[in-house]
Symmetry: C2
Subunit: 152 residues, 2 copies
DNA sequence: CTAAATGCAAAATTTTTGCAGTCCC
DNA sequence: GGGACTGCAAAAATTTTGCATTTAG
């Protein structure tokens, strides 16, 4: 597949900084990568890998789903994109239903709970007034726990 | 399978209120359900369905994995347990890597972003001082969006 | 040219479903 | 007894991997 780069589009700035980010991360600027990122950057609905793939198929009929998965994983690893608040592919459960928050160690995947009353009582931003009916508010902190820091 | 109820254990209170919650929700108190909840209530690691199943197999050798899935789904639906910050089984992505937060409509699964600087600048609870190295702090608000409220 | 990235196909993982039999209430 | 629940098996859905080929730098 010929690989003429197209950094134009609805938001050229994003594409240019994407190019720079790839260069900095040592990632090659392939046609597929460029288009996957462009599609994601334009999307406002936090799409799943398969959703992105479907949308891209119109432009890139030969793009394979596994390339989308690999590309998203790679871009996420290099901090160019984010995975939205999902732990991994597995769902995780708890019996604690009182108001509380989560600490997630990105290295060992351990999840622990903590309390934060000041947050629970704080006032939400004005822009949310009209969103709908809020039910739960949760904080998730991501980082590396002491155990993992000490052992590696 | 004979179904003698055992509401004892490390935390009898939890088991008793579980029994009441089931009764209130019209859920039958089966042996499996009781044990699945007991195991989850004792667990401190927010286990996945498969993890729970493995642990339970020692006590309930015939317990099937699909019963664990069905039971967790049912208990979650009735608010007896919580699914931890996973949207669904599918991962969702975004290209926005600046600090921001998420609003999730539990009905239509729409995810939208919002800013909350006051939160970003707030001081974390003391108990987290020694946890490790924090990297990201995110708020996730769950509720039902206006569109869904109006249309249903 | 060379290491990295892609596409294809196949496998692995996670979750859901149909159905017949079992158990709670 | 009757409807809810379970186990089994099979399918669906999601994600990962091995390998030959192609491509960016």
């Amino acid at each position: 597949m010929t690989n003429r780069r197209d950094l134009s589009g609805p938001d050229p700035d994003k594409m240019v900084s994407f190019e720079q980010a790839c260069k900095a991360a040592g990632l090659k600027l392939t046609h597929q990568r460029l288009e996957i990122f462009r599609e994601l950057a334009q999307a406002k609905d936090h799409p799943a890998a398969e959703t992105l793939h479907k949308r891209l198929l119109e432009r890139l009929p030969t793009l394979s789903l596994d390339t989308v998965y690999r590309t998203l994983a790679s871009l996420e690893k290099h901090g160019v994109i984010c995975r939205v608040d999902t732990m991994e592919s597995q769902a995780r459960f708890e019996a604690e239903i009182g108001q509380h928050h989560h600490l997630v160690c990105t290295r060992c995947k351990e999840i622990s709970d903590f309390q934060w009353e000041a947050f629970d009582l704080s006032t939400l931003p004005d822009e949310l007034r009209n969103w709908g009916q809020l039910k739960r508010r949760n904080v998730t902190l991501h980082g590396v726990c002491r155990k993992c820091l000490d052992s590696g």
